[in-house]
């Protein structure tokens, strides 16, 4: 019987989510709103059953390694389910029930990633250049297909293929940052990154650009141990923001990025238009106060995009400063556990891959929350695991699956019969 601590923590997750759901139902009953208790319980119960199946699948596969990551992801994703139930249990523009299938499906993706990649993860090392080349091609194809905004392609359904850039470029980086490289290789590497970022700029997908740029610098720092990468990144980012914030007052071309930065620096002069989302998010924070209005008692619908990009504002209103503080603690706990797996890995590719996956999630979380609390401009990316979404949910769970696969290999005693790698950098 494997993974007893995970099972025990999952019981806690179930109790916690059920208690939140009961509170939501009680609040609905007391304030005379429509009561969907039966349906909500069925959907939440279904989600918990899927979580249980994931646990059983990991046990059946004999997966070893960290046992707190799956409960943490399960709780965060379960909070996402609760948010959806709290907002009425339907996803506008989506086929009925599809959001639930995505939630359950992303758990399946997690299990699938572990199943495929454990013991075989070094294959990805071999495919690194392929993944790297696929990245700009993917964005280019999307632009040629005429989806100008954030890569949302509506042909096969509501998908955001650019989300795939995250695993592709993580694998590419983990494979590239290997040993001392030739100048030509480095030039091609940088060319691929530059091409991807420039193509993303055409789509105004600044959130993705920020994630990928931060990923590149963080991975360079972790792989080399040189602080200059982080410092250079910080300096470039602040220079860029400063330059863009002066672009509009100087009457230069006012593009999407400039508008977002000026709406961030000064949302007050136009609170009903450019500053609308920022200001409404701040209203939600303030309405929540220290302990929140209580689940189901706030007015999250007043905040635009509260189900996806601004879900943190809705949570801050209903759970308050304390509740969202605990939420951030859970996120940081998740990241620390992921980085711990990376630290335990002896094979450098595994180490870099796990680091890259966790870094993507950590940066995405930080950028999303910072945008809501006005610590940075709004970039239009989701909060991992909690936000409503399709591709982004699947990819986030997939990244966790890769990390768990690394963790399994680490526990199995990696390195036996594996080709050794030259010391990097």
């Amino acid at each position: 019987m494997g993974r007893p601590r995970e099972r025990w923590l999952l019981v806690h997750v179930a109790i916690l989510l059920a208690a939140f759901d009961l509170g939501l139902a009680a609040q609905r009953m007391l304030s005379g709103q429509a009561l969907w208790a039966g349906r909500d319980a069925a959907l939440l119960g279904g989600y918990l059953a899927a979580l249980w199946l994931l646990h059983r699948a990991l046990v059946a596969m004999g997966v070893r390694g960290d046992e707190a990551i799956v409960p943490l992801v399960g709780l965060l994703s379960g909070l996402g389910v609760l948010v959806r139930l709290r907002l009425g249990g339907t996803a506008p523009g989506w086929p009925p029930g599809s959001w639930w299938l995505v939630r359950a499906g992303s758990l399946a993706v997690l299990a699938g990633a572990v199943w495929v990649c454990r013991r075989r993860i070094l294959w990805l090392d071999a495919a690194a250049w392929l993944c790297g080349l696929a990245a700009p091609v993917l964005v280019y194809v999307l632009i040629r297909h005429g989806t100008a905004y954030r890569g949302a392609m509506f042909g096969p359904g509501l998908t955001t293929p650019t989300e795939l850039l995250k695993p592709l470029l993580v694998i590419f980086l983990a494979g590239f940052l290997k040993q001392r490289r030739y100048a030509v290789e480095t030039a091609v590497f940088l060319g691929i990154w530059a091409a991807t970022l420039v193509l993303l700029k055409k789509q105004h997908d600044y959130g993705m650009i920020a994630i990928l740029a931060a990923l590149l610098l963080s991975m360079c720092f972790v792989a080399s141990g040189r602080t200059r990468y982080l410092l250079a990144g910080l300096a470039t980012a602040s220079l860029l923001v400063t330059a863009l914030s002066y672009a509009e007052p100087l009457g230069l071309h006012a593009g999407v990025a400039e508008r977002r930065i000026s709406a961030w620096l000064d949302p007050w002069t136009d609170p009903m238009n450019s500053g609308y989302q920022t200001v409404q998010g701040l209203f939600a924070l303030r309405a929540g106060g220290i302990d929140g209005t209580g689940l189901g008692r706030g007015s999250p619908r007043l905040v635009p995009l509260v189900e996806s990009d601004f879900v943190y504002a809705g949570l801050a209103e209903e759970l308050g400063l304390l509740g969202t503080g605990l939420l951030l603690v859970l996120y940081v706990a998740l990241f620390r556990r992921g980085y711990r797996i990376a630290a335990l890995a002896t094979h450098p590719f595994r180490q870099r891959l796990a680091t890259g996956c966790m870094t993507v999630l950590a940066i995405q979380t930080a950028i999303n929350v910072a945008g809501v609390v006005r610590a940075s401009p709004i970039t239009g990316i989701t909060l991992p695991f909690v936000s409503h979404g399709g591709s982004s949910l699947l990819v986030c769970h997939g990244l966790i699956g890769l990390v768990l696969a690394v963790g399994h290999d680490v526990e199995e005693g990696e390195g036996e019969g594996e080709p050794a790698e030259a010391e990097s950098w």
Partner: protein, 511 residues
């Protein structure tokens, strides 16, 4: 325990559950073997935690302290949460200083309505609360406090001990008995009455006329807006009028503080005073009314004040000079936009318009007209009541306040106590001396001090009583009502009589 409090317990429970889970996770052991990680990875992990701590401190700032930022307060009215008035108890009641209800919630046909039992009498203070036309007055200024759904769980639970089980009402410093007397005396004429306690700054009456019924704003708002009498305008706070002769005590105080003795004399003949470099003579009002009036003759400060001699004060103002005169007015809070609901609470409501004054470099003629409260000088009734209160309070300016349970802002000294006592005696003379313009304020058994004024057909009176230990200071203005002594004094008298009946002058004796 009401619904709010039950739900407060529930949400605290949810937080405890989350914290419990975080603790559980922390206790799960990390897999075996010591980390062989590079120092860079450990540093990076710590940096990520630091980034989240920084973001959370930003969130803490916006959650707890955003209300202190003027920018934020300016846009706060775009927050639609305020309109969620679905259940009784979602908004606090408001009472006067004695606990008489000014606003309460009432259920009618399954809806909860805001009801204003004193109706038009307190309409400008209570304001209105309407889904279409917004909110004003206390409903606007103290919105964040009145909306109990926004209070924290701790606040909700701390109110468990309320005897009624309802959230504690907001108590104002108003006194509805005096407010009723003031509104009855105004009798629908255009004008305003402000009564203060000069020592604490408590606003006892804030009456503006004509008024409106705040419960019926939804039906009548367009007509109220179109009404030429402008019933929605809070004349007591937002009305700005030339003070006329009620400015003369300020001139007298400035002169006395500058060392002019009470006996300062000037010959006030029938031809008035011609300021140097000017072509228009400043005449006493008797000269305009009575043909062949011989003039007051030689006047000193007490008699000039009692008879309200324009000639004398125009001359005195020119002697003092424009800058000194205006500095004197400013030190008494002339240019302050008094905010009746201090900082952290407030929206843009219940703030008095700041008084205006000319720049200090005008010609002697303008200074002379300014000294008799004409020309470019303007003040709100609340501002002038505060000036009267400053004199009554021996020269210390006490900022007016409207919330009984919040400490008022700190005051400051505008003139020496001795000067203020002299001005009190001058104003006492206005009521008591034969021929004084404030004779109508004589009340048996009560020492009233006052000063009347008339400017551009608006009648003013300011007064305080008892003269040397004042518990009450007031200002009355009647628009286009004729002279102050004819139009405004009866209103002031009615308010003073109501105050006496209400026990505001317990130890009053005739001096």
């Amino acid at each position: 325990m009401d619904l709010d409090q039950a739900l407060a317990l529930q949400r605290l429970g949810a937080l405890v559950l989350l914290g419990w889970f975080a603790g559980r996770v922390a206790r799960v052991r990390v897999p075996s073997r010591a980390p062989s990680a590079s120092r860079a990875l450990l540093a990076y992990t710590a940096a990520i935690a630091g980034v989240f701590a920084a973001i959370f401190s930003c969130q803490t700032f916006w959650t707890l302290f955003a209300g202190d930022l003027p920018h934020y307060r300016q846009v706060e009215r775009f927050d639609p949460r305020v309109w969620q008035l679905s259940r009784a108890g979602d908004r606090r009641a408001v009472t006067d200083r004695k606990g008489v209800e000014l606003i309460r919630n009432e259920a009618r046909d399954g809806r909860v309505l805001r009801v204003y039992p004193r109706g038009a009498e307190t309409a400008h203070v209570t304001g209105y609360f309407d889904r279409v036309y917004g909110k004003s007055g206390i409903e606007g200024a103290c919105d964040a406090y009145l909306a109990t759904a926004r209070r924290s769980a701790f606040a909700a639970l701390s109110e468990l001990s309320q005897p009624t089980g309802l959230p504690a009402p907001l108590r104002l410093t108003l006194d509805v008995r005096l407010e009723h007397a003031a509104c009855s005396a105004l009798a629908g004429r255009r004008g305003a009455v402000v009564v203060l306690n000069p020592v604490q700054g408590d606003v006892l009456v804030l009456a503006s006329s004509p008024s409106f019924d705040p419960s019926r704003v939804f039906e009548s708002f367009p007509e109220l807006q179109a009404d030429p009498a402008r019933p929605l305008l809070d004349r007591a706070l937002q009305g700005l009028y030339p003070p006329g002769s009620t400015f003369k005590p300020v001139v007298a105080a400035t002169a006395l503080a500058a060392g002019y003795p009470l006996a300062t004399a000037f010959e006030c003949g029938p031809n008035g005073y011609l300021p140097p470099g000017d072509t228009r003579r400043i005449l006493d009002y008797e000269a305009a009314e009575r043909v062949g009036w011989p003039g007051h003759g030689l006047l000193d400060l007490p008699r000039a004040t009692a008879w309200s001699s324009n000639t004398y004060f125009a001359w005195l103002g020119v002697q003092l000079g424009g800058p000194a005169l205006l500095a004197g007015a400013r030190s008494m809070g002339w240019e302050r936009a008094w905010d009746l609901v201090p900082g952290a609470w407030t929206g843009p409501d219940l703030v008095a318009s700041a008084g205006r004054r000319p720049h200090g470099r005008q010609k002697a003629g303008d200074t002379a007209r300014c000294a008799i409260g004409q020309s470019e000088i303007l003040i709100s009734p609340l501002g002038l009541a505060t000036v009267a209160g400053t004199i009554a309070n021996y020269g210390t300016v006490t900022p007016p306040r409207l919330l009984l349970d919040s400490a008022g802002a700190g005051g400051w000294r505008a003139m020496p106590a001795r000067t203020a006592r002299d001005v009190q005696r001058l104003m006492r003379g206005v009521v008591e001396l034969p021929g004084g313009t404030g004779r109508g304020l004589r009340l048996p058994g009560l020492a009233v001090a006052g000063k009347t004024g008339t400017a551009q057909a608006h009648g003013w009176v300011i007064a305080f009583a008892p003269a040397e230990r004042a518990t009450l200071a007031l200002a009355v203005v009647i628009e286009n009502g004729g002279t102050g002594s004819r139009a405004a004094v009866p209103v002031a008298r009615a308010v003073l009589e109501a105050a006496r009946a209400a026990g505001y002058f317990p130890a009053a004796r005739e001096h």
